[in-house]
Point group: C3
Chain length 296, copies 3
């Protein structure tokens, strides 16, 4: 079986193949997946990711079966994840799983009869989002090597920024992590970057951090992460990207966001050519089409 469980497990060759395939799938409608069934298993809600995979499968002529409330199904009657995998993988040709617990996608894959795609499991991994982010960078900039990629917001709990950082170690990039102290990148990621020889720096100064960015990857700071809501409010006010900040500090930056966006990117930026966050959505469908054809 061929599973997509983590960003780290992808070779540069595998990454490049997906990016190339995705490019050919932009705007594509075909029958490549005719007679194939995708099972979407969501143990926590994620409408956006679910619809992206469903659209990808349907635009390839395939069929979809979905469970959007797996947490309220037989699992609650005491069934193990192993048993669930042994059963549900028999209904499909490929399984997409979203689960709140880290490691569960791997465990599911160990018991599955078909390939498993991790669509987010807990804190660390969301490899298909990372691939669509990487694809967007390439589409927007025409290249990945040589770029200064700045990530802002919640870098500790935000699995999108994490997964993208792991993927970027396959390229010659400079990374800047802009986050408050409570939400800094995890030490294991920094260690991994050191091992791979990737140049990076950290700061909690938003304005200074975004300076000269080629790519600005913004993420949301969640109120739930803070014991004291005053701490949250102070930070949330600082970590807001405005049109003026873009024009003054990083006029050439491609601005990205995994969405949903709340206050961290001003709506005045939406009409700037820099704003790539809605284009990420379209790219996401193409990348997932590539992933489905590659892993089925």
């Amino acid at each position: 079986m061929n599973n997509l469980l983590s960003s780290e497990s992808l070779s540069k060759e595998a990454i490049e193949k997906i990016l190339q395939k995705a490019d050919s799938f932009l705007g594509y409608n075909g029958q490549d997946m005719k007679g194939k069934i995708l099972a979407n298993l969501f143990y926590e809600p994620s409408t956006r990711t679910r619809l992206s995979f469903e659209t990808a499968m349907k635009r390839l002529g395939g069929e979809v079966i979905s469970v959007t409330d797996m947490e309220s199904t037989s699992i609650t009657k005491g069934e193990t994840l192993d048993d669930t995998a042994k059963v549900i993988s028999q209904f499909a040709d490929i399984v997409v799983i979203r689960h709140p617990e880290s490691g569960s996608a791997t465990r599911f894959a160990d018991n599955s009869q078909v390939s498993v795609i991790n669509a987010g499991d807990g804190a660390g991994q969301h490899p298909t989002q990372a691939l669509l982010d990487l694809f967007t960078i390439q589409k927007e900039k025409g290249k990945i090597d040589g770029l200064k990629v700045v990530m802002t917001g919640d870098l500790k709990y935000g699995r999108c920024a994490n997964s993208l950082a792991y993927l970027l170690t396959n390229y010659d990039v400079e990374l800047v992590f802009v986050a408050p102290d409570q939400l800094k990148m995890k030490p294991e990621l920094l260690k991994y970057l050191d091992e791979k020889g990737v140049k990076y720096s950290e700061t909690d100064d938003f304005k200074e951090g975004i300076e000269g960015a080629d790519v600005l990857y913004c993420t949301r700071i969640q109120k739930e992460r803070f014991a004291d809501s005053k701490d949250y409010e102070e930070l949330a006010d600082v970590y807001i990207l405005t049109k003026q900040l873009v024009e003054n500090n990083c006029p050439d930056a491609t601005i990205m966001h995994p969405l949903p966006r709340v206050h961290e990117i001003s709506h005045e930026i939406d009409d700037m050519p820099n704003a790539a966050y809605f284009r990420q959505v379209e790219n996401g469908v193409a990348v997932r089409m590539a992933i489905l054809t590659e892993y089925i």
Copy 2:
């Protein structure tokens, strides 16, 4: 883009085209929508309307992606309806939206990349229901002009009766509104009828109101509308259509209802040839097939 947002916005020509198309779609199975995707976005539940659209799309060979609990998705994480529209419209070729707030379908359409069909937004608009009701009248009576159309029940909050009344201003009909004082037709609709020169009358006398009807459009009176439940019970007892009433007061009336029906139409009427309310369902699929092909 070509959106279907309200009954008033439809020209008579547009209405007639949909009715004609619908007629050709009764009992039809085809591939007209092959390779196209409909996104069903329901911010409030409406199983009947959702299934009607899904069936319409599938009988045309198209694909459907559905969200039945939009109210519990990212919108609750603070995303604006504008952002949601920008994102979700990228997954589909046409969007059907049901939303509890008046005006939200229009707002969604303003930010959508594809056509939007309003499947009910708040108090005023449900244009696809109005079109299927109009189509049913034409099928049952062989014409629309010259008919006396009587509407009974909750005319204030019932968007189905409202939307149908707006559509009927394009025809030479006589309208009778039979409702208790608390649930009378909105002044703005009456004003619109005056402007259009449509003949209408109002009464709270059920028996008198239905006299001589060619079409009887019954709607449910909801308990929630009344502060005093005794008021409700008195009214609910009066606004019940019985077989005897039909035979004595409007023996030729086509009897319609947007469903679900509770007590307002006696079950003894179901077997009368007059009862068209279950035929409305079949007509609804054909009308929605026409709408999908027209607006995509």
Copy 3:
């Protein structure tokens, strides 16, 4: 109309036809149901059964519309099941219904415009599960006649064991019912077996009961059935099938379970060739493909 509502209503000829068809559908992908729509109506959740039917329909090239939360839809606004049947059956070519109340599938069928398949209604009936169980016995043993079939666990409330027992009256089998006193087979089933001349015995001794079984059909004992949780715990400890018990008491037994399995079958049995419970899932899809083509 041709409905599948109960095990008892199936003639041996009808059963054999489904088993034969199912055999030809194992691993099959086709277009037999092209242009047809299955409506899945679940008034109580059953992810496994729903996905099994969806997979069956899609592997035959058909389309599916699903309602997974029928109990929270218009029925709660006071609509009768009769009306719901009259409406929803218009959207589909065949309806699969799961409902918590015994008799509701039949009532739905009485008002439906298309064939209805009972996917479990209350305590007594789950005929498609019984057919897949029977098919599994035939696949695993190469025959049904002459077998000793032992059923264990909750035989009173477990509709799977019940439905299978009814089907088995069409064959020359010996039945053994192993259950605690509180959960013994219903008297009406035993009476039915007597009338049909089927040989059976009852015991509450687990070890003795499974002795020499050709087929061991295990079911879960639910805590909710016991007023005193101590009673439950004592029983739950006894009604556990272990590898040692299989090796010593019924080494040739095909071990089956309707799933989900909790503690009643030790996980150490999963790797034994006897363990057929995960193969039942694959068989279930083939049997449901046979049922759909037969009843549509």
